[in-house]
């Protein structure tokens, strides 16, 4: 009996695994016929091979349906019933597989004394684990394909905004002239405003993110000054003396840091209570003389002619209506050659899982309703927005020379792929939270999947 299980140890199908376990557990007097055993071992392989061959044959005969997958690693069949069929089959197979795994696991556990040696049970446990994971993954991906509405069901509580999911892309490239302030968002953050400075509470993650954001701003400013003045440039003054605008300053977490580094900082927020808290907090600190706050929407600043060297809007974009308008407003407030820094969350399943499911629903570290999945924005969407965005011409060009005047350059050259904007024009870097160190990290450039959740974005306004 022991032999039986060892002989088949190389075969990886869970059915065989179960068979092996059953064989090993059987008492010697009840013997299964060798035919049944062979059939049980062979059938899953035959089924698998049949499907494989079937798909292969179909693909060869109908090459018009074959497409290379976007990442180029495998082929897919499109516009046929086959993917659906495969999904159905795979789902059923996976369910069977997982059930078998559970049975095997239970059998193994209940008879752990009988099985020889720790080594083998460990291998078995690993195999059971791998198959369960594969099975669950398969079920998840198949069911997603079978019922595409499921992902929306998950975000059911955001259904009233689900139209935004569909229209978001369009909105990003339109410049509808609505306000960007969402009254509900303002109410939400006004409710939480008293907690802005509780460093272990609701906004602990933001407090810990602050040094990394400032570091990124400093790094970019340094990089740009090096570019202009060469490596031999005198020690950079960093933010000292620059006019900085923090749009959506909240309790003033970022504004205070920027002001401490010497920037003439103005923090604006649409929530009156946020601004109140920010003012109160900064008044206790004698070293914050270059800091002021204003309770106003960003659009209201366009009326004055004051423009800023640096405009930051951190973790705000995912809370505004009409992100395109908001972005244009922020862009408009930047001096030519100035910098715009944005940080937000990418619209990916990972971000949903981490920022909404885990942080809000499971761990309850962040109040429910803080984030709305549909309002998240992918870094590529931001880049392509600025590939189309041109600063409006200031009207100083004499109309008669208008046809000779060059149109203002887009902020990011349109030829570049949105995933890889030119380094001198824009940059996207992931922000990764390390839960054990309770610390945020700035991911290295182009790190795989780093920008799939929180990320920070920098873009520079062209001089003309």
């Amino acid at each position: 009996m022991v032999h039986a299980s060892e002989d088949h140890a190389l075969n990886a199908s869970p059915a065989q695994l179960m068979l092996n376990v059953l064989l090993a557990l059987r008492t010697a007097d009840k013997k299964r016929s060798s035919f049944t055993s062979a059939a049980l071992v062979v059938i899953p392989w035959v089924m698998w091979a049949a499907v494989f061959v079937g798909v292969l044959v179909f693909g060869l005969r109908h090459s018009e349906f074959v497409q290379i997958s976007p990442n180029g690693t495998f082929c897919i069949l499109v516009n046929t019933a086959l993917p659906k069929l495969t999904s159905v089959w795979a789902t059923i197979a996976s369910i069977v597989l997982v059930t078998e795994e559970v049975i095997v696991a239970v059998l193994l556990y209940r008879n752990r004394e009988v099985f020889p040696g720790f080594g083998q049970s460990k291998t078995m446990a690993i195999r059971v684990g791998i198959f369960t994971a594969v099975g669950l993954g398969a079920i998840a991906s198949c069911s997603k394909q079978l019922c595409p509405g499921l992902s929306q069901h998950v975000t059911r509580r955001n259904m009233r905004l689900s139209n935004l999911v569909r229209t978001l892309h369009r909105q990003l490239h339109s410049s509808a002239n609505h306000g960007t302030i969402n009254a509900e968002e303002i109410a939400h953050f006004s409710r939480l405003s008293s907690q802005w400075w509780d460093e272990q509470g609701e906004f602990a993650y933001l407090h810990r993110m602050n040094p990394v954001r400032v570091q990124f701003i400093q790094d970019k400013l340094l990089e740009v000054s090096r570019e202009h003045e060469g490596e031999e440039a005198p020690p950079t003054r960093g933010l000292r003396g620059l006019d900085v605008l923090d749009v959506g300053c909240g309790g003033g977490l970022l504004s205070e840091s920027l002001a401490r580094l010497g920037a003439n900082t103005l923090g604006i927020d649409a929530s009156e209570s946020n601004v109140k808290i920010a003012k109160l907090h900064s008044s206790a600190d004698p070293r914050l003389e270059h800091l002021s706050y204003l309770n106003a929407p960003a659009e209201s600043l366009l009326e004055s002619s004051k423009r800023y060297d640096v405009v930051c809007s951190m973790e705000v974009l995912e809370h505004v209506d009409n992100p395109a308008t908001f972005l244009s407003t922020c862009a408009e407030l930047v001096k030519p050659g100035g910098h715009l820094f944005l940080s937000t969350i990418a619209r990916t399943p990972l971000a949903y899982f981490l920022t909404i499911f885990l942080a809000e629903d499971i761990l309850r570290k962040v109040s429910r309703g803080t984030h709305t999945y549909s309002k998240f924005i992918k870094p590529t969407e931001l880049v392509s927005f600025f590939q189309k965005h041109r600063s409006p011409s200031d009207g100083t060009v004499d109309p008669q020379y208008l046809e000779h005047a060059t149109l203002p350059k887009p902020w990011i050259s349109p030829q570049a792929s949105p995933a890889f904007p030119p380094r001198v024009e824009a940059e996207v870097r992931g922000l990764i939270y390390h839960p054990l160190r309770a610390k945020w990290h700035l991911a290295p450039r182009d790190a795989w999947a780093a920008t799939d959740c929180n990320y920070i974005f920098w873009v520079r306004k062209p001089f003309q």
Binding site: Q200, H207, Q215, S257
Partner: protein
Amino acid sequence: MALAPTLGTSRTYCLNARSVRAILSSRAFSTAHSEPHEECDVVIVGGGPAGLTLASALGSSRIARQKVRVTLVEGGDLSKVRHWSPPPGTYSNRVVSLTNTSQSFLKAIGAWSHVDTHRTVPVEEMQVWDGVSDARITFSASEIGLEKPHEGMARLTEILNLQRGLLRHLEELPDVQLIEKTKVKSILRDAEEQGGWPLVHLDNGRVLRARLLIGADGFNSPVRSYAQIPSFGWSYDTQGIVATMVHPPRGAFQGPNTTAYQRFLPTGPIAFLPLSPTVSSLVWSTRPHIASALTASDPAVLASMINAAFRLPELSLRYLYNRIIEAQAHGTPLTHSEVQQEILWREQSHAIDPNSAYASATIKTIEDAGVPATDSESVPPLVTSLQPGTVATFPLRFNHTESYIGEGQGSRTVLVGDAAHTVHPLAGQGLNMGLADAECLTRCIENALEHGGDVGSYTALLPYAQERYLENHTLMGAIDKLHKLYTTTFEPVVWARSVGVEVLNEFDSVKAALMMMAGARDHKVDKTAAGWNLAAKGVEGLAASVGAAKLLGGGIGGMMGAGLQGLLKATSTKTRPNGTR
């Protein structure tokens, strides 16, 4: 500490945990503070080694000097320390072993050049042995692969020498404000609308408003009481005896006086720490009744007992303690010659050769010693006398706070050194832990300042607690367990610890790893790089043992060993950081 309980209209915390709670429950909301105050960014309370080191580290940091104003408050008269000039040949009884990590930190902040290095001694060797079984472990600077073995594994010096050096360094740093001979009268919390920053009221009427209040104020820390940080611990049923011992110099056939000795007796460890060729320092932890009997007797008797404690079997020591205690109880304390007689008698009964290094009943002078006994290196030199006025005792305890950072009502506070942790002195790590705290906190403050952070904020201080708490706790736990392991005479435990120590003594790499953890490395190396180095050393050992096999056939093993060793060394150089500052 006597403290005035109330002051004006502000909420008051008397620095005593019970009354804090009482006041908290009955306090009324009050408005803005009435007294004028000085804005200070960083206020350090306590001018001990940890506080002074922190002040000079912050003062010598470029960014900290630019961006924060540092003030140190000390109740005592620091000018006494600043102008400390002991007569030649005499040494203070409070001695510390500075690990190489601590030294390189002091060098980096520029304070080490102000420490009188003539009054320091490198520890080139350590002999540690079991008082019951005599199982022995030897650490030698030349064997554990240090870059500069003659600099030793650690350096012994008087605390006063270190403090004086730090004060001299601070004189060069005018940005650091030193307020001495001024006690902290009370610490209050500023009004909530003013951010609730700590207000430090001094007994000369000055009020300092602190962005960050650092408690370097020792075991009974007022800052800790203000921050309401609870602590846990226990006092060992043990007293430490310190004294400065005088002994003849080592003979021509022996090494210099750079070996530290420690014998773990069941009553507690006794340590011999060299300070100069003829002077060494004693740290003897023992039961309180023995400690009081020993310190009450004639210093010559104590000197004899010190010699005996490093040499005689544990059984005889117990007899001698009882003899001394009984004689004192009868009002006829033992004289020096009586003790020598007793020791001689015990030596004879244990059949100790009078010419052996383990014999202490007759002190042999250097002239007639001639060639020393073969085992003379395994025990310290014979003590001839104690420097007058240097015998003192202190209680030993274990104490660790539950947190290093104050929260809520006690926010903007942080603890370093003995205010945060008190530990048994057997491993000589207490002060080094305090210096490591200062190093880490300085780094943390610099980081926060670079990114425009508020140095008093929890977020800015969190990395300090994350880095230091676990490290200190591990070390403290290990020291505590070591103490407990060695204060038992239970046969199986003695056997097990002795076997463990003897086996350990044969493994150079393991010993090197132990010393590295104890801070013998002269700079804070990247742990992985150090690990690779150790692994390379291990392979080196392997290659050496393969050497014999190489002669017999092939030599493949040796080649493989060398190749692997090269690979590991290459990895270690690759991962080594470019320097910390």
